[in-house]
Every structure is written in structure tokens, then in C-alpha cells.
């Protein structure tokens, strides 16, 4: 870890002013950034602490829109009874992530920018890694790839996007408000995350001097019919082997619209439009749910150790759909 200077910002304008020049990074909860600094992956010269900025930790669950201030903690958002009641998919995606201690520190904005858990990426310069060291190759290809992507990979990188919250947000058509020296803009989550292609070193479309202010989610009257179904190697405190974020707009047994996104299996939060299309206008049965799950994994490419996730993922999607349906009729 190299030495760095630390300053605390009072407003988002301060942050943007400070984010000029090389090697500046903002820090919110620090649970990702410090980890990556200790691993030598992030090497900022200057750190700007945004945690003291007022107003950016507010959460409003409005009739048209849900707005999450980027600095709200995972714990605060996850423990909102209204969110748990009306959008269980969002609350569960946070509650099933990390540990209580981490969730207390971590922010819902910082959460979006966590980086892959690919062991080769994290374990240092001894491994070839295009994400860490562009052009060096990819040690995961031909290595231990149980945790790697089946969807969205390239010859340059098959690293999984590891987070849960962004997967749920992707299913719900969320977007982020950002601020940079070029002004304010809104980026749909679907456009925020990049496919690795030939440049896996860049995870997102966010500019180096751009800050996330808020996350916006269109309200849905049927948000209760949702779930975040996360399958992992132990019951808590583990990243997803596969996960499915699902929300259903139902008309009796018939699906008006399905929202489905996958986690743990793709290089970015992965929306599954084929699966959604297969359900639209159809009656939801366990068999059709499984068909949708299988459709979600069409085109999946397995490596050496992760092939089981194709079937596991399909079943997770199917179970998530049935849970969402149950929640809808349970009301």
C-alpha cells in the first residue's frame, strides 16, 4: 500500500472539485476501497471522504419513484419495513449480502462499484489479469473457474460481477443520478456496467471524476410480488453461486410482465429478456417457470468447474418466480 492523503468533503461540489487530477478516489464506507488498496489493486494518492455530506443518505419511497441517497447504509435501507413489505427483492438483496458489520459501514452507492472477486484479480501480480494489468492475459481461463462467468465473458476476461443489490436494481429498471464537472446526468443501470470485451479494466461507464448522488427506481404497484433468491456455499456471508432477482406483474395466474435478473453468473448484473418474454401473457406454472429459468441461461458458456450453475441457475430462477407469485397471491 502506498501513502495517500485524506480529506473530508462537506458537499458534492467539494467532491467534484477534489476529483480532478490523477489518482484521486472518493471513499464512502470504505469496505471495498480499503480492501482493494491493501491488495494493491487500487493505489490512490488522494482520498476524498464523502461520508459527511449531508442529505445524501435520505431514502424516499414515493408513489412514482423510490429514491436512495448514495450514502445511505446498506443496513438502513435493508431494515426499512416499508421496503421489506413493498419491494422484498430490494431489501433481500441487501440483507443477503456481506455481513452485518460490513452492511453497517457500506453505502448503497459504494455497493454498486464493488469489484469482482476473481481470485486471480485479487491475488496480486503473480497472475496474468487483464482487468488488473491490461494486456497481461487472463489466468482464470484454464484455472480454477468455479466462480467465473457463464454469461457475458470475453476472451480477455470472464470475471463475475459479484454484487447483489445491483442485480435487484437491474431487474427493476433502476438508474443513477451522477454529478461531474460536466454537470448532472442520469445513467440507467443497464448502461452503467460494461461488458469486458477487450477492455475489462474498466468496469463501468462512470468517469473518474463522476460521483453517484442517488439511485432511482420506478415504483411498481406489484413490488410485493418479488424476491431475491441467492444460492451460496454457506448460509450467510458468502457471495452468490447464482442468484435471481425477480418481480412479477400478475393478472391472476397470468403474467403481465416479468422482471428477471441474474447474479453470480455473469460479467455484469444480467437482465434475462428471453426468460421474461417467455412468460409474458402466460400462466405461471412450475414447469413454465423452469422453462423461463432455462431460457435465461441460453447462450451460457461453461468453463471447467462452473457448468453446474447452468442448471442450478435455471432452478433458482424458477424457484424465485414461484416465490414471487406466492407473495402476490398471499396478499
Amino acid at each position: 500500500m502506498q501513502p495517500f492523503t485524506y480529506s473530508k468533503a462537506a458537499t458534492s461540489d467539494d467532491v467534484i472539485a477534489a476529483l480532478t487530477g490523477e489518482g484521486v478516489q472518493l471513499i464512502a464506507g470504505g469496505t471495498t476501497l480499503f480492501d482493494l488498496m491493501k491488495l494493491g489493486i487500487e493505489q490512490p494518492r488522494r482520498i476524498v471522504d464523502v461520508s459527511g455530506i449531508g442529505g445524501l443518505d435520505e431514502v424516499t419511497l414515493g408513489p412514482n419513484e423510490l429514491v436512495f441517497g448514495a450514502l445511505a447504509s446498506m443496513t438502513d435501507v435493508a431494515s426499512s419495513p416499508a421496503l421489506q413489505e413493498n419491494y422484498p427483492v430490494l431489501a433481500e438483496s441487501l440483507l443477503k449480502a456481506a455481513s452485518q458489520q460490513l452492511r453497517n459501514m457500506a453505502t448503497v452507492g459504494g455497493n454498486l462499484l464493488q469489484r469482482t472477486r476473481c481470485n486471480y484479480f485479487r491475488n496480486g501480480a503473480m497472475y496474468a489479469c487483464n482487468k488488473r494489468n491490461p494486456g497481461s492475459g487472463c489466468a482464470a481461463l484454464g484455472g480454477v473457474d468455479r466462480g467465473h462467468a457463464l454469461l457475458g465473458g470475453s476472451e480477455a476476461c470472464i470475471a463475475v460481477y459479484p454484487g447483489d443489490w445491483a442485480v435487484a436494481l437491474t431487474a427493476l429498471n433502476a438508474s443513477v443520478d451522477t454529478q461531474s464537472p460536466r454537470g448532472l446526468r442520469s445513467i440507467p443501470l443497464a448502461d452503467l456496467y460494461r461488458l469486458p470485451g477487450q477492455t475489462p479494466d474498466r468496469d463501468t461507464e462512470l468517469a473518474a471524476d463522476e460521483m453517484i448522488l442517488r439511485i432511482r427506481v420506478p415504483a411498481a404497484s406489484y413490488g410485493r410480488a418479488s424476491t431475491y433468491h441467492k444460492i451460496r456455499d454457506r448460509e450467510s456471508y458468502a457471495f452468490a453461486l447464482v442468484s435471481a432477482a425477480v418481480m412479477l406483474d400478475l393478472d391472476g395466474d397470468r403474467v403481465r410482465a416479468a422482471h428477471i435478473a441474474l447474479g453470480g453468473v455473469a460479467t455484469r448484473p444480467w437482465r434475462a429478456p428471453q426468460a421474461e418474454a417467455l412468460l409474458t401473457g402466460q400462466t405461471l406454472t412450475p414447469a413454465r417457470a423452469l422453462d423461463a429459468g432455462r431460457a435465461a441461461f441460453e447462450g451460457a458458456t461453461a468453463g471447467h468447474h462452473n457448468a453446474f450453475k447452468i442448471e442450478l441457475g435455471a432452478r433458482a430462477v424458477a424457484d424465485a418466480l414461484m416465490i414471487a407469485q406466492q407473495r402476490s397471491t398471499g396478499q
Binding site: A139, R234, E235, F308
Partner: protein, 732 residues
Amino acid sequence: MTDTLFPAATGTMGQPERRYEAREKVTGSAAYASDVKLARTAHAYLVTSSIGRGRLQSFDLTAARALPGVIDILTHETIGDEIRQTPSIYGGGYMADTLRPLGSAEIAHWGQPVAMVVAETYEAAREAANLVVVSYAAEVAPVAGMGSSVATGQALDPMGFAVGDFDTAYRTANVTVDANYTTPAQHQNPMELFATQCVWEAGRLTVHEPSQYVNNVKFGLAAQLGLDPSRIRVISTYVGGAFGAKGFLTHRTALVAVAARRIGRPVKLVPTRAQGFTVSGYRAETRHHVQLAATQDGRLTALRHEGWEVTSRADTVAMGAVSMTARLYACPNITARVNVVAADRSTPGFMRAPGEMPYAFAMETALDELAHKLQMDPVALRRVNDTQTEPVGGLPYTSRSLMLCFDTAAAAFGWQGRPSEPATMRDGDWQVGWGCATAFYPTHAGNSAARVRLSADGRVHVESAGHELGQGMYTMMAQVAAEELGVPIAQVTVALGDTDLPPAVVAGGSSSTASVAPAIMAACDAIRRRLGIATGVPADVMPAMEASGLGTIEEFTEVRAHGTAPDSLRGLYRGMALPAGGVHLPDRVQFALGAQFVEVRVHRRTREIRVPRVIGAFAAGRIINPRTAHGQLVGGMIWGIGSALHEHSEIDTRNASYINANLADYLVPVNADVADVQAIMVEEEDRLVNRAGVKGVGEIGVVGVAAAISNAIFHATGIRVRDLPIRIEHLM
């Protein structure tokens, strides 16, 4: 979790006394090795090899040396010949492996220390370590492990044995089982890292290091540094978990000692969690071939267990627990063999129930396969083959309460009425299964000495260089002295973990209490004799003490453990007190035994595995403190859940490296994975094992759990998994 504590005995022994050092630990005032504050400490950081096999070509230390605060950098080129080549414990020495620390340009394994930076601060040392540029020559790809190369394993003939005629018995049997099992590499990952602090004062060296054997460190270091052992003191007041990883001298201690001498200041090293994966030994991966044959009514007629274990090229290390699995059940025809597969890996070592865990997984799963084939209840199968005499040498067990354990645990579990067919129990979307397995651990003891001082005011001070690993050593020592002298336990103080104290056995092989309690008892006897009080019966010594008019009485005694060599007491004073017992005695075998019962649930579709209940009953002789013993047993059983479902040091075969060397990726059970775990202590009196009647409970809790879980998974799903850890993909 529910408690089932041993029924109360009279006096303090057998009572669930609270931990002697509870307040210090709860309040954080207990100073572990890295907490000890020394003036002007410099900080060290290791640089470790990123290749698995080859040679160091060159170092570029320019950038590292230029960093402000850097004081010294040790490499094989700069260290000189201050550290001598000394043998490992496998060659009669003290080291955990035979490589010389920074001894040459040879790279024997990934993660091998190749340099150590010393700087004013930890941060500077770490940054400089990152700036050290190492060039390697790696012409040959490393052999990472067993791979498909078991065929090239080397048989260790002294570990093999046979009785009867296995081949004929197996060939002509009614019912047979023939299966292969594997277990992965695992690391102990004690919460406390492998810290070392060294300080020289007037030619004398003091080492602060968490250790399971302070005298091993002292005498081993003396040999490495060519010093008179009397100039070295090793202190290990508290150890934050060890599990075998802190048993024997590793490379780091001599490096820190040399660095401290070179710069004339105390030096502190705290290797990282990842470096800990190769700083010390680990549980190597194993493979097993088990063949069983039985009559229609379940009597074993033939048993064969062959094991393969990964070892390093430098050291041949094998746990070889066929010596135990072949002695558990009556069987006339037995053959057993142990092989090692040498790989380009660091030398394996000891990890809680080192051989017992993997070998029990193989044997106890095979027995379940046999029970299934026979359509016999697995408990009934153990009962039919129960014996009080081990079948290899015909030696008697000093005591064996295996079926009492099975019956006790089965009753507590509600085993009766379990359907014998697999995949028949269901709770909603969850398939439910019940499994069981035998737990065993050999009873060991080693030579130990103790000093006890009784003062006229009724205070008692007990000293012995045993070790507090969290298992309850302080408390046990206080209890034994209080009982023997008839004083309240609150009047007893204890010192341990220091080479200036009377030497004791290595804290390994679950032998600490069995070894040190008899030494304390003997010292108390000596005090009682001086006061004219008969020994061996409860008595309060204080009236006689008052009558004597003496200020203090102090007695030092040494006790030789059953099965140790006649001249082995000398080894006690040279850091060579290793435990004896188990299956290595001429006249008998000694085991603690137990029965593990498990309920698992496997999700019908996603195949997630849950373990809602684990109930174990254990007969381990006398229990001196049911509270700490209970902690040991339950902790072991939880570890057993991890050994079955979670723990796995993942190896990239291309450079023989561990790629999940951190606690986020090396999975162990978290609270949510641990539901109802009950340890029942079955009453057992064994007057033969040692004077204290103690068999040890440190390791047995982990043994058999993995088999019980794999057996329960079979019962739930009909799928037999023979490879650990058992994960979702095995059940898809």
C-alpha cells in the same frame, strides 16, 4: 445450542469452573504475542515466492531500500550463514520442515519466504516488500498435488500391516464394499496470525510467539543459531487458536531473531493471513481406497484401508491413520497401507485430528455403504462389530464405551424408527436424512514437570510450561492443584507458556491435560508428604500447614508418561517431550470414542445443504472441567461441519498456489450454518490411561462428523458423495 454438562462431582475437579483468564479475554487485556509492547520495535514483512518450483535469479532491492524508513532487507544473499541447517521433527530435530530459512536460491514451493524487509513501521515494511523485485527461473512446471499421480505414490512400508488373509476373505464374502474417497487440503486458520517478536538483551534472546510448544522453539532456535539454549527464553502467555499450526518451529522465528540481532532492536513480524497458508504446516489432501466384506448378519470378515497423502519433496510426512481405522472393529482379515505423493508444496503438518478426520471420513462412510447394502441399521452394524480388543495386535482397550455413546446419542437424537431406505423423508421442499458415524481419538500423554508452591496464607501457585490455546489449560491447572491441596480455586494462581517454567509436553495430540495434570498431582503429593498427609484421598492441607509453622512449601516434580522411553525424561529438558500412547503401546490401546449423529436437509431443486442438528456423545475418561470440555467438543463438531461442507484450500495447479488464501474465500461455517449442536459427555472411568484418568477432548469432536454428514446426505437423497467438501454440484 443446548448444553449437556457432565454431572457434578465433588470438589473442584469435574466442576464447570469459569475460565481462569476469562476477564482478561473478555476485556481485551490479555496480551497475545503481537500485543506485547517492546521499546523501539522495528517491523518486518515477508516477501514470498510467486512460483511453485525453480530458482531465485536475482533481487532488485533498489526501490525498496530507497523507501524512507527501511532499515534492512534479508535475502539468501544478504543474510550470511547465521542460520544453520537443522533437521525437521521428522528427522529428529525441531523444525516443522527441513528447508533452511532463506537458505538458498532454490524455490521448493509457492509462498516460500524469499526475503524479509525490516522497517520503522509496518506500513513502510509492507510497501517496501511490494517494491522488492524478484526474478525467478522456473523451467519445470511444479507438481501441485495428487492429481492423477497416485499411481506414482510411494508406499511407506513401516505404516502398513496385515493380519489374516484379506484377499481370500474378501473374494469369498457375501457382501462387499469397494470405494474411493478424497479429502482436500485444509488450513487451520487460527484467528491469531503467526506473530513473532524477538528482542536481544545482553546476548540473551527473548521470543514472544504463539506456540503449542515453547521448548521446541527454544531448543530449535538454539540449534539454528548456534546458541546456548540457556540464552533463549520463549514466552507464549496466550495463544489465539493453534489447531496444530503452531506446534513446531517455522522459518520465521530465526529470521526475526537474526534481524533483531543485526539491527540491535526488537523486531516484530506478523505474516498476513495469506502468508499464513505457507508459513506453517496444513492438512494435506488425501485419497483412500476402502474395501469391506461382511457376513449377511453384518460381521466384518475383511477390511482393507489404503491411504495416499500429499507431502513435500523435502519431508516425508504422513498421518497414516489406518493404524486407527483398522483397529476400531472386530475383523479377522485386515490389510492396511499408507502412501505418500511428493509434490512441490510446503511441508504438511498437523491440523486438529490430523489423520483421524480424513481417515474416519473414508472408513465411516464405507461402513455406512456396507450397512445400506446389508439393509442393516448403521448403529446395529457398529454393535455387531464392537470389540474390547483391537483386532490387529489383539491388545485390550484400556476402556471402550463406544456402544454406550451410540445408544446415548441415538436416544437424544430420536434415531429410532429411522426409515432404512434413502430419499424417503421429506419436509416441504427439503429432503431430510439422518446419518451417524463413530468418532475416535487416540489417548496420548507425554512427559511433563510442574512446580507447586503452597504459602502459609493458603495461596497456591502452579507452574508448568504447558500452553493455553483457548482450550482451558489455566483453568485445568488451577482446578487440579485446588483439588489436590483442598484449597478454594480462587486462591490458586497459574503460570504457563514460558520456557523459564518447568517444562511440559507439546500441546498436541489432545494430551495436555493427560500429561500436565499428573505432574501437578505429583507435586501436590510431595507437598502433602512433607506435611505428613496421606496422598490419594481428598484432604485440606491448611491445618497441617499452619501446624508446621512453615512460610511456604515448594515442590518440583517430573512425571514420565506410560509408553515413553526410559531415558525420555531427558528429552523433556531439550524440547523433545512428544506424546506417546494411542496405538503405539506394547501392552494396550487407548482411545476416546464417540458417536456423531446428524440431520441434514437438501433442497429438492437447488440442492442447498443444511445441517439443522448434530448430536455427539463422547466417552473420554474423566472430564476435569465440563465447561471447557464442552467448548472443545462443540467447537470440534462445528469444525466437523466445515470439514464436510466448506473447508477447501483451492490450488491452482499451474504454479501450485493457493488461490483462496483468505477468510472471505476459505469458507468455514458461520453462525447461520450452525443450528443445534449438542455434545453429551458419557461417564467413563479409566484408571489405566494415566493417573488423572483423562483421555483428552481437544480433537475427537471433529472426527466422524464429515462421514455422518455424507451418510445423512445419502439418506436424504440416495446420492453417495465420496469427496469433500460436499457441495451443491455433487447433488445436482
